[in-house]
Symmetry: C2
Subunit: 218 residues, 2 copies
């Protein structure tokens, strides 16, 4: 049997996944502050110390959950783009991903913990996400003349590691991304509750407006 597929290793990753699943459950139910290793262990059917075979500490577990969340979002967006979705399709994919597990969304885009610095690999996944976005926008024609902000984005392009992408495209990506999260974060945090309108329609309208603004004949 190859090193990557021994029975022990398969078992390990199964248990590891189960632990994370229970952890996600707990976070979804009572928030991240209620995440307790002992409680998770009990749900998994294991004694508390047993968890330490899988995660070095509570922080370690949380970091893995954050990493998984990033990975999951990046994969969702990549898959969406690769199956032919345009920018609008991508927006809906992100929205569905977020709605599916709001606390997972907030694990990435919610309240930051002061002093916490994400490990290098999650910041890498985060740029991967932006890369998918840039790719999606690159398929669209660039409309309108450059603004002052576009010029400023020359430095941002260095970050993107892609010399060929026009500043106007980067500009549209950033604008799109922030607007997307504006609606999602307010909606998922419940700030529209009781306001008597459907956030889904606002979402759709904002998308339409975004594209209308870039129409050739405006």
């Amino acid at each position: 049997m190859s090193a990557a597929g021994t029975a022990r290793e398969r078992y390990r990753s199964q248990v590891s996944e189960e632990i994370k699943a229970r952890a996600r459950e707990q976070i979804a139910t009572a928030g991240i502050s209620a995440l307790s290793l002992n409680a998770i262990a009990k749900h998994v059917g294991m004694s508390g110390p047993g968890l330490y075979r899988y995660f070095a500490s509570r922080d370690d577990l949380i970091t893995e959950l954050i990493r998984d969340a990033y990975r999951s979002l990046a994969d969702t967006m990549r898959a969406s783009l690769d199956t032919g979705a345009d920018v609008t399709g991508l927006a809906y994919a992100v929205r569905e991903w977020a709605a599916q597990d709001p606390q997972r969304y907030f694990l990435i885009y919610g309240t930051p913990v002061p002093g916490y610095h994400a490990p290098e690999d999650t910041t890498r996944i985060s740029s991967e996400i932006m890369a998918v976005l840039i790719e999606a926008f690159s398929a669209l024609p660039v409309e309108g003349q450059d603004t002052a902000f576009d010029a400023h984005l020359a430095s941002h392009r260095e970050w993107a590691y892609d010399d060929s992408v026009p500043e106007a495209t980067l500009h549209r990506c950033l604008s799109f991304w922030t607007r997307l999260h504006g609606i999602l974060s307010l909606e998922l945090a419940g700030h529209f509750t009781g306001m008597k309108f459907d956030p889904a329609l606002l979402f759709a309208d904002e998308l339409a407006t975004f594209h209308r603004a870039a129409e050739p004949g405006r």
Copy 2:
């Protein structure tokens, strides 16, 4: 001496404010999960149980902090509007308010605690905030014809308790509000860190774009 101004009452509110100030300090330094009553008491120069003369419980203290945050934002916006700020001025006022204490911002707009329901008075302040926004937008002429989403907002107008405001204005408020929070939450959570562009310029550009879209002669 009148009932509202006895020395004892003045003292009480001073201590109460000091406690909250230390609590905010702790949250700003290490996040809300690190907020500990005993630690606060020590900073205030008081024994742990002493705090219970001022707050019934830890949750009570947090709720007050949230209420204060709402109140502070509403007052900031109201003051800004009353001193002649237009919609753009309002946006900058909110931005400055948020930048001044990001954790206070996230107390309102950050990760929600599942199952937590804000007390009635904070939801009232929250509508007060939207009312200021509506007032600011009401000073602007309504441009463009109604979209399908505008029609949907008839029910939202009931919520706003203002029959006279056009749906198109409500629409602009919601759009404006979500875009504002999109940039603020990503920026303050550090999601632009290292991306080599200035979030302030993105903010300014989004504002300019927002207004350009509504220009008469477009």
